[in-house]
């Protein structure tokens, strides 16, 4: 709007232009005005004359048909690779919300029960290739809710103790617990997933624990750069949290998340980091553990297994579900048939189109060589 403001305006423009205009007209002659000629004649450059050398790409049949064919073939190739890769991924998935009596953990689904444990038994008839990853999944849980997402204090989480006293307002209503500032504050931290799992192989009636590796489950940058513990006070992390309260839903404070390993404690606890990275969709899964050690580094051998779950996390109240997933990954990540199928479909579509075009092309008998 009001684009007319662009050209320079003023009384004086006209005058300037006319300085070099010729003066007399009807005297039968003309003022010689060589300077005017130089000043007035437009520049004869490619740019000003809109004659810049230009490439004028044309999608001719000679390009499009082979192009489509090549794209189609490449896509089908990728699609096959993806499809096979995805097929080869083994997944074992079990919902343990316990809504119905015949589903696992039904006994624990009653919210009044504390410290309930349940177990899921399963049998592998085929070697489960390693490395195997253990995921937990939640449904209808809106980690991507805006209020939930902003309900955290980055400065706290990066170890700035100044914010331990005065957490950010965005944490509301999880800022203070009866007047004492909550660290880590906010809904995100408060709702941290607190079911825990132990996997046993049943070997001749005894439970042989499968070692679960809690390292390397979170983003490298989260663990090494973004999240920082507060500086230790007298060598103690707990002292650094002095004067703060634990999140209301937590059983223990942040500095006791993993007392066995100081590098996995406090805000550097990888379970915490995994949780704090918000899921994109309301149905999501998060990495819980990796099976990379001991006898199981190459995978889970054939046999019977038992997964012991300490059931703490309430989901039924908001209509959610919990599940546990055992999966290995390929070069493309976890099992997802979508990509492979999509590539195959698009690839074949391209080939079909190139064929259709070829037929049309042949039918109309386009003289190819005479351009």
């Amino acid at each position: 709007m009001a684009a007319s403001c662009w050209p320079a305006s003023g009384f004086y423009r006209e005058k300037k232009r006319n300085c070099s205009a010729r003066t007399a007209i009807f005297d039968g002659g003309m003022m010689k005005n060589k300077e005017g000629e130089v000043a007035n004649r437009p520049d004869n450059t490619a740019f000003t004359q809109q004659r810049l050398p230009a490439w004028q790409p044309m999608l001719s049949a000679g390009i499009v048909i082979p192009g489509f064919l090549v794209i189609g073939l490449v896509f089908i190739g990728i699609g096959v690779a993806l499809f096979l890769g995805s097929q080869s991924i083994q997944v074992l998935e079990s919902d343990y919300t316990g809504l119905n009596s015949n589903t696992p953990c039904y006994e624990c689904s009653d919210a009044s029960k504390k410290n309930c444990t349940c177990s899921i038994e399963f049998t592998l008839t085929k070697q489960f290739d390693g490395p195997v990853f253990l995921y937990y999944g939640l449904s209808n849980f809106f980690q991507n809710h805006r209020k939930y997402g902003v309900s955290r204090d980055y400065y706290q989480l990066s170890g700035d103790t100044a914010y331990f006293k005065n957490p950010s307002d965005s944490c509301s209503p999880y800022i203070y617990d009866s007047g004492v500032p909550i660290v880590p504050c906010g809904a995100a931290a408060n709702s941290m997933f607190n079911d825990s799992f132990r996997l046993y192989q049943l070997v001749g009636g005894t439970k042989k624990p499968v070692p679960l590796d809690g390292k390397g489950i979170s983003w490298w940058t989260d663990y090494n750069i973004v999240f920082r513990n507060p500086p230790l006070v007298n060598g103690s992390l707990a002292a650094a949290f002095n004067g703060t309260a634990k999140p209301v839903n937590w059983a223990k404070p942040a500095y006791e998340l993993d007392t066995s390993d100081p590098s996995n404690n406090g805000f550097m606890n990888e379970d915490f980091l995994v949780w704090m990275r918000r899921a994109a969709l309301p149905d999501f899964r998060k990495l819980y553990r990796r099976i990379t050690q001991g006898d199981y580094a190459a995978g889970l051998p054939v046999g019977n297994y038992s997964l012991e779950i300490s059931y703490n996390y309430p989901v039924i109240g908001f209509g959610g579900r919990k599940k546990i997933v055992l999966s290995n990954v390929s070069w493309m990540g976890g099992k997802n048939m979508f990509l492979g199928v999509a590539y195959l479909v698009i690839g074949s579509l391209c080939i079909v189109m190139s064929l259709v075009m070829l037929i049309v092309y042949a039918k109309y008998k386009f003289p190819e060589g005479d351009s």
């Binding site: 709007m1 403001c5 050209p7 320079a8 305006s9 003023g10 009384f11 005058k15 205009a21 003066t23 007399a24 007209i25 009807f26 005297d27 039968g28 003309m30 005005n33 007035n40 004869n44 000003t48 809109q50 810049l52 044309m58 999608l59 001719s60 499009v64 990853f133 849980f141 809106f142 980690q143 991507n144 809710h145 939930y148 997402g149 950010s168 209503p173 809904a187 709702s191 983003w219 940058t221 973004v226 990275r277 899921a279 969709l281 309301p282 999501f284 899964r285 109240g317 908001f318 990954v329 990540g333 976890g334 099992k335 997802n336 979508f338 990509l339 590539y343 698009i346 092309y361 003289p367």
Partner: protein, 1123 residues
């Protein structure tokens, strides 16, 4: 403006009266009431809009008056006040950017104006004060000061000329900077003033300042101690305008009458009427649609949010409880703020940057017109001029061209062809011209090789020599006169004299007379000197000049010969002379005049009358009285003129040829082929105009002419109205009802139409059609007339008054379908139609600069119109149309995923993209390629556009900005948006996308979608680009590279000023995932696939279109050929 208005409000009493009184030199005059120095404004020119102090508030106020800016301000304020998903920075930054850029630009322009003002205001001028010459700054001149101006200086304010250094009490000025007319104009001193200005005691009474440059009325009272005050009339010829330059005169003295902002120049300086282009209207319509989309999106989300929340357990799950404040808030208030939040979240769908980009495109794009060397005319040493850049694209939409004839279709380079004296024809061809005898050819009357009597001959030639306002060029100027002649009519030896005149006809006539032995030697203090055939010098005292005006269409002079005879010579158009002479004389001459007119010459009739002494005294008194009148002087003068110019006797007629402009016919043909209807509007005679039309191939041999002129109306001998009605109906039947169906007939098929019609109407009939009897029949006539005209290939309107030209343009402009009109003309009489039409084009011709000043574009020659419309207009239209559509498209597919995401995040207004991406998308990532495209694209080469004029029809009627294409683009945007979102959604059904088993979060999701988005919209533009210059390559690939670089940069650093580091390493992490790569490639390709298909299968464009299209719908060969 404001200042003037304030002056009106607060000014002294003198503002309220119709005239002002000025005391020359501030000297009190005897016999008048006590001298109260009236307050006039000072001589400061203020063209600048701002001062240092008011720049910020005033500029901001003006910028926020624009709806778009205001809308974004509101969004920004909502973001500040309400708790919204995106920080105020996301919309504040672009807004700030836009406002700042505009403010800087306007500030710079204003600084330039300040500088220019200062230059003018601080210019030192010489003022006479109490007998001393004082140098003072121009801005300190007061009304009443006597100012001295020397040669080649511009006048510092509007002055009444008191004294000139020239002997004949005249001075010469050029008004090039006012109206562009570069010829010298003569101004006269007030007669009989004292030679000694010191002793001059006088008052000047004149009208209040008014903008008309050519009107001035005033009265000067000169007081002498011993006599009654003498009264002199003042007219425009006494007034020297600020801005004009003194020429050929050593120095003059003048008294300031209007100063500063009250000078005519300042009053004339005002913004031209804002013309809006059709594209802008389309933009606004689309904007409305998008606003509705925005509102409905926000409404849908708000509704669904509350529906969803009403379900059990969803409103407040234990993990995400509400704050106390939220719980306490009223439900409806919450709903409202939710609605606002959604608005804010989706507001990017209305692109703030589009306005900036469109403005930049128009501003920068218009340079290509000024730069075009094809528009450079070596003769006048000038190229095209762009007065407004708003209408570039309108040049590609023209449906009707209204052209002036003289100076536009023709060169306005007059050549005396022949004359007819007393019924005998005298031809002036080089082949048969001898210096002092007439060559007689066989005209219908002069079969007997007779000549008119010598007396008649000489009388006629004297009339030609005397009846004009031509000036002889001074000897001083002769040195600068070069050898190359524009008028090769006369041998150089005869060309000793240069003539200056406001109309080329007059020069041609004077030169014609010279050819026959009567030479005009010049005007010397009211005495005209001519040299007759016997080489004697005859002297005539010039008593009065009855100036030419377009209403009377004639001019006269009253002279007194040496012998004491008082003669009135009159020349003018036949229609204005014939009724004023004896009818028996008319018959002998009329044949010649009509024949000449048919041959395309301009004819003038010459008449004279002898005034006896009593008559003259009476006439003289009346003229003087009328000249002195302060009010309605024009009307009074006109009445006297009409009274005087009666009862004359006709001596003869002249024929002057006006050659066609270069390539006039080719241009007209190209325009017609382009589907543009050409109407010729001229003040000339029908016959002349008709032959010009034939010459321009507007009418062809097969064209059936439908005439609606005074002559055809009077044929039947019945009442004009009846006949008009009858003819209209008959023509309507012929041209409209019997013609092929309207759609074909009007737009496509005139090439193949069986019968072409041309329509001719004259001014008198037109006014009959337009303002006939007040009943309903008038509107009926009008619509009949319009329908006929619209079905004719060419329309000729002759004998038009300037205002009628504008009336016609207006009528067509407002007719059904509101077609885009273009007026082209070169003279002051075309200004009204130039201003009226959608696009006004001025020709830098010989009738001054008025048309150029009032035009939107000015070109040196008619032939340039072809390239201006067919190449520039077409390209500009395609460019801007694509720009607009693309902008809406890219913002739709930008925001749609964000909208869809609401369904997956509990309608919580969670943005899908990071704030930086939201902000930068339109500013950095996708703005440059489209700007480059919209400046450089040539989807069809310029040569092809020029060669194949019919290509112009492809964009006619706003073709690419109609709802069809808009729907296509919108569908495309929706398709892309859906694809982006759901493609990634399917991928994220398992968010473990890395080979180390780790999962991606919501920001990874958004970043993947955004990456696909940026690449797709940029590549979509790349697909549309048919003309890849290095600039296109640079900006397209550069933008993509910049996006990647920016993402790394943005995610590579812990930004200390950010509350969260949510994007930290997200982009890099995304690239480490093969799946992400694959999905990005897949989605980009899938989005573009339909586009590629359409591109391959669509109808080919270009010059070979027809042959190819005839063979196949596919375009392989044609496209290859163009490689």
């Amino acid at each position: 403006m404001l200042r003037r208005r304030l002056n009106h409000l607060f000014g002294g009493d003198e503002k309220r009266v119709d005239s002002r009184t000025i005391y020359v030199g501030h000297r009190q005059c005897p016999g008048t009431e006590a001298f109260i120095a009236p307050k006039f404004c000072d001589n400061r020119i203020v063209s600048s809009k701002y001062t240092v102090w008011n720049f910020l508030p005033k500029n901001l106020f003006e910028q926020f008056r624009r709806i778009a800016n205001f809308y974004f301000l509101i969004i920004f304020l909502v973001q500040v006040i309400v708790d919204t998903p995106t920080s105020p920075v996301t919309s504040g930054l672009p807004l700030f950017f836009v406002i700042t850029v505009t403010a800087i630009k306007q500030g710079y322009e204003d600084w330039l104006r300040h500088k220019a003002d200062k230059e003018v205001n601080k210019y030192l001028v010489t003022v006479l004060e109490d007998g001393r010459r004082i140098r003072k700054e121009s801005e300190r001149i007061k009304v009443g000061d006597v100012v001295e101006v020397v040669e080649d200086e511009t006048f510092p304010c509007d002055l009444i000329l008191l004294q000139s250094s020239r002997d004949d009490d005249t001075c010469f000025v050029t008004t090039a900077s006012l109206d562009g007319e570069s010829n010298h104009k003569t101004h006269y001193t007030v007669p009989d003033t004292e030679k000694d200005l010191e002793s001059l005691t006088a008052t000047i009474e004149c009208e209040q300042p008014q903008p008309d440059l050519y009107k001035f009325v005033g009265r000067m009272h000169i007081y002498r101690s011993d006599q009654d005050p003498a009264v002199r009339s003042l007219g425009p010829e006494n007034l020297l305008l600020k801005g004009a330059t003194l020429k050929n005169t050593k120095k003059i003295y003048g008294v300031a009458v209007y100063t500063g902002m009250e000078t005519k120049m300042a009053l004339n300086y005002q913004g031209k009427s804002q013309k809006r282009s059709a594209v802008e209207k389309s933009i606004n319509a689309f904007l409305l649609v998008y606003l509705c989309i925005l509102l409905s999106k926000a409404l849908v989300c708000t509704t669904l949010k509350y529906v969803w929340q009403s379900r059990d357990g969803q409103d407040e799950p234990w993990y995400n409880q509400k704050t106390q404040k939220e719980k306490d808030a009223y439900k409806f208030l919450k709903m409202f703020t939710d609605f606002l939040s959604f608005m804010v979240l989706f507001n990017f769908i209305i692109p703030v940057s589009m306005y900036v980009t469109v403005e930049m495109q128009k501003f920068l794009g218009s340079f290509f017109i000024t730069w075009d060397k094809d528009f450079f005319d070596p003769e006048i040493q000038e190229g095209a001029l762009v007065n407004t850049s708003d209408l570039n694209e309108e040049l590609g939409q023209v449906e009707y061209v209204f052209t002036d004839k003289t100076g536009t279709l023709t060169q306005n380079n007059m050549e005396f062809i022949e004359c007819c004296i007393d019924g005998f024809q005298y031809k002036n061809r080089d082949s048969c011209s001898e210096l002092d005898s007439f060559c007689v050819t066989d005209g219908p009357v002069s079969k007997l090789h007779e000549k008119a009597g010598r007396e008649k001959e000489e009388l006629f030639l004297r009339a030609l020599c005397l009846c004009h306002t031509v000036q002889v060029k001074e000897a001083g100027d002769m040195e600068t006169v070069s050898e190359d002649q524009i008028d090769g009519l006369l041998p150089p030896t005869e060309q000793q004299k240069g003539f200056i005149a406001s109309s080329p006809d007059e020069v041609a006539l004077v030169m014609g007379a010279m050819k026959y032995g009567f030479t005009f030697l010049g005007l010397d203090s009211k005495t005209m000197k001519i040299r007759n055939r016997q080489n004697d010098v005859e002297l005539y005292e010039l008593l009065h000049v009855l100036n030419f005006d377009p209403v009377r269409r004639r001019m006269s002079v009253i002279v007194r010969s040496k012998a004491g005879e008082t003669l009135l010579f009159c020349k003018g158009a036949d229609s204005s002379i014939f009724p004023r002479v004896r009818s028996e004389e008319v018959d002998r001459i009329r044949v010649h005049v009509e024949r000449n007119a048919t041959e395309g010459y301009r004819t003038l009739c010459v008449a004279y009358k002898q005034l006896c002494t009593e008559e003259y005294v009476e006439v003289d008194a009346k003229l003087r009285e009328a000249r002195l009148a302060l009010q309605d002087r024009e009307e009074k003068l006109m009445a006297v003129y009409n009274q005087v110019e009666t009862g004359m006797s006709l001596i003869g007629a002249t024929a002057v040829e006006d050659r066609l402009q270069e390539e006039a016919a080719e241009t007209m043909e190209a325009l017609q082929e382009a589907g543009i209807k050409v109407w010729v509007l001229t003040g000339d005679k029908m016959e002349t105009a008709k032959s010009t039309c034939y010459a321009c191939r507007l009418f062809q041999r097969g064209t059936e002419l439908l005439e609606l002129t005074v002559r055809t109306l009077e044929d039947g001998g019945r009442k004009r109205e009846e006949r008009l009605h009858e003819l209209l109906l008959e023509y309507h039947k012929k041209a409209v009802q019997d013609a092929p169906p309207a759609k074909l007939g009007v737009r496509r098929s005139w090439v193949t139409a069986s019968q072409e019609y041309g329509f001719i109407i004259d001014g008198a009939t037109l006014s009959l059609v337009l303002n006939s009897s007040p009943e309903a029949s008038s509107t009926r006539y009008k619509s009949l007339f319009l329908q006929i005209c619209q079905n004719c290939t060419a329309v000729l309107c002759c004998r038009m008054a300037p205002l009628q030209k504008a009336q016609i343009v207006k009528m067509v402009k407002n007719s059904k379908g509101s077609p885009i009109t273009l007026s082209i003309g070169d003279g002051a009489n075309d200004v009204s139609m130039i201003l009226e039409a959608h696009v006004g084009i001025g020709i830098k011709g010989k009738e001054g600069r008025q048309a150029v000043r009032n035009s939107d574009y000015a070109i040196p020659k008619l032939k340039h119109l072809k390239k201006l419309l067919l190449a520039h207009g077409h390209l500009y239209y395609v460019r801007i149309a694509h720009l607009v559509q693309y902008f809406f498209y890219k913002n739709l597919c930008f925001i749609l995923p964000q909208f869809l995401y609401q369904f997956f995040c509990g309608y919580s207004q969670q943005p899908l993209y990071d704030a930086a991406y939201l902000t930068m998308y339109n500013i950095c990532f996708t703005s440059m390629p489209i700007l480059a495209y919209s400046l450089l694209e040539q989807h069809i080469a310029i040569e092809s556009l020029m060669d194949t004029a019919s290509l112009y029809r492809e964009v006619a009627k706003n073709a690419t900005l109609r709802w069809g294409p808009f729907l296509y683009w919108t569908t495309l945007g929706i398709f892309h948006g859906l694809l982006f979102f759901f493609g990634v959604r399917c991928l994220f059904s398992n968010p473990a996308l890395q080979d180390n088993g780790q999962v991606f979060g919501n920001w990874s999701y958004g970043t993947i979608v955004f990456t696909v988005l940026v690449f797709t919209v940029t590549l979509k533009l790349a697909l549309d680009t048919r003309h890849w210059t290095w600039i296109n390559h640079l900006v397209i690939w550069g933008s993509l590279a910049f996006y990647v670089f920016f993402s790394f940069f943005w995610g590579g650093i812990i930004w200390p000023f950010l509350q969260q580091q949510r994007l930290y390493f997200v982009f890099a992490n995304m690239l480490s995932s093969v799946s992400a790569w694959l999905v990005i490639i897949l989605l980009i390709l899938l989005s573009l696939l339909p586009e590629i298909l359409v591109l391959v299968l669509r109808k080919p464009r270009g010059p070979h279109r027809r042959q190819v299209a005839a063979v196949t719908p596919l375009s392989y060969k044609n496209l290859k050929e163009r490689d």
